[in-house]
């Protein structure tokens, strides 16, 4: 599903975030990317969604070299990928419901079907009763679950999550991890960048150290 072929990413003025990185993720696999802060975990995820482009090598997603995609093709790649961002990127002037609705509006779903899907996604993360609330009224754990609902509402086959349990207390973190396990069980391929390996038993670890693969 995902293949990194000798991928490197250098940020000006010569900072190597990733160097000579090769690995493969097969369909329905759950992989956790770990490593110290600045090891290149976020960069790795960004390369998959073509938020960043590699400076060397090739990133293949579903057989497609995403680094070489034209700007106009990027939206269609990103619609196939669910993303949970480190800083969540929720829209604070829109309700919980509207935040989750956004990917469906973007993909052009008919509004009625979309509303049903939004409610299903919110139900899945346990926010069904908060759909009218604004994100500021939610706790940290609820905001994280909202971000997950937005990432999965499109039913992507690939889900990328960047530090989804950071800043959460252990109970809430376990709760969030449980949601990811559920998606894994229904066949979603997961790539999770995290420090908390213990929350994802059974996942294949990819250990990064200064932009290089350790194991």
């Amino acid at each position: 599903m995902i293949r990194f072929d000798r991928v490197s990413k250098r940020y000006p003025p010569g900072l190597d975030a990733l160097s000579d990185l090769s690995f493969e993720v097969t369909e329905r696999e759950m992989v956790i990317v770990s490593g110290h802060s600045g090891a290149g975990k976020s960069t790795l995820l960004k390369l998959i969604a073509a938020v960043e482009k590699p400076t060397g090598g090739a990133v293949l997603v579903g057989g497609q070299n995403v680094g070489g995609l034209a700007r106009s093709a990027l939206p269609f790649l990103r619609r196939r990928i669910g993303m949970v961002f480190q800083d969540q990127k929720l829209l604070f002037d829109r309700s919980v419901f509207d935040n989750v609705m956004l990917p469906l509006s973007i993909a052009g779903f008919p509004p009625k079907d979309a509303a049903m899907r939004v409610r299903a996604a919110l139900d899945k993360v346990g926010l069904a009763s908060r759909e009218k609330a604004l994100p500021v009224m939610l706790s940290g754990g609820e905001q994280q679950r909202l971000a997950i609902a937005r990432a999965v509402v499109n039913r992507p086959s690939l889900l990328l999550a960047d530090e989804p349990t950071a800043h959460l207390d252990s109970e809430t973190a376990a709760d969030v991890a449980r949601i990811f396990h559920e998606f894994h069980h229904v066949g979603v391929t997961l790539l999770i960048a995290t420090y908390a390996n213990e929350l994802f038993p059974g996942a294949r670890p990819l250990q990064l150290d200064h932009g290089r693969l350790v194991s």
Binding site: A49, V51, M83, P103, G108
Partner: protein
């Protein structure tokens, strides 16, 4: 199709909500655009009225043909029949020299002068109106008539027509110039307002791009915002011009009456109004489009 319409409706409603979210800002922006547009729109209003006035004024440009005083009536009759057959001539009025003499004698000041003169000093004359009364066409006719036999003098009383024509042309150029200048101003206003909007909604643009939104999807509410600004400004300009027309109607009518003319100052007609609103909305859209080109390149 339904989905597409729903998207446009959403984008338009979002744009309206954003305008309503900062009412003072929005109103002042609309006023700025409206005042800027009211100058060319007002110019067009005055021009349309001047054209109307010129069109309804009864003084149709004419060509006067004077026969040589030695010419006999036969020569005049020949010219008359020739004029009657000549293409481009709409109407011919023959003024026999006796009639002219009689008419001049009714003027007490002139009578004394005429009586001391030997014989009839007036020649036979024709007053010709042309089917095409543009100055160039009139000039051409006059040149032709001058070459006819026994014609002493041909006078073209189109000087005032030329002056009016030149004046109206100047007015039209001024209106176009104002329109172009202030249209560019509108684009600039729309550009910077949309820029502010894009900065305010930067997070939303970024998130939408990360979630797979096309540029078209992201642009849509901003373009509607630009169109609404332009359209709103156009309506303000239309109201301003209408109010000015109403306010100026009585004093301008009084002034024009001194020249034995009548004028009821009219506001913009439906064609000009449609053009004003169409241009305003289009320029608002254009400003937004240019402004967004820069912002969408970021992610």
């Amino acid at each position: 199709m339904k989905v597409w319409l729903a998207h446009h409706q959403d984008a338009a409603l979002l744009a309206l909500r954003r305008l309503a979210a900062a009412p003072v800002n929005s109103l002042l922006s609309l006023l700025a655009i409206g005042v800027a547009l009211s100058l060319p729109a007002g110019g067009q209003m005055l021009l349309a009225n001047a054209l109307h006035l010129a069109g309804t004024t009864s003084a149709v440009p004419q060509i006067s043909i004077f026969m040589a005083s030695t010419a006999e009536r036969r020569a005049a009759a020949e010219i008359e029949s020739r004029l009657g057959k000549y293409g481009g001539v709409k109407q011919v009025q023959f003024l026999p020299r006796e009639e002219t003499l009689a008419r001049m004698k009714t003027n007490p000041g002139l009578r004394d002068v005429i009586e001391v003169l030997p014989g009839n000093p007036f020649p036979d004359a024709f007053v010709v109106t042309a089917t095409d009364d543009r100055p160039e066409a009139m000039e051409k006719l006059a040149v032709e008539f001058r070459q006819w036999p026994k014609v002493e003098h041909v006078q073209l009383d189109s000087a005032w027509v030329r002056r009016l024509d030149a004046l109206l042309r100047l007015g039209r150029t001024a209106v176009i110039l104002l329109g172009v200048l202030l249209g560019a101003g509108l684009i600039a206003i729309s550009f910077s307002l949309i820029r502010m909007q894009a900065l305010m909604h930067r997070a939303e643009i970024e998130v939408s791009q990360l979630l797979g939104a096309t540029d078209g999807f992201i642009r849509r509410p901003f373009l509607y915002y630009g169109v609404l600004l332009g359209l709103g400004g156009g309506i303000v300009a239309w109201v301003l011009v209408g109010a000015a027309a109403l306010w100026l109607r009585a004093p301008l009518g009084d002034l024009i009456r001194l020249y034995d003319l009548t004028l009821v100052l009219e506001a913009l007609d439906s064609r000009d109004s449609t053009m004003l609103l169409g241009f305003a909305a289009g320029l608002g859209w254009l400003g937004a489009m240019i402004s967004l080109r820069q912002h969408l390149r970021q992610y």
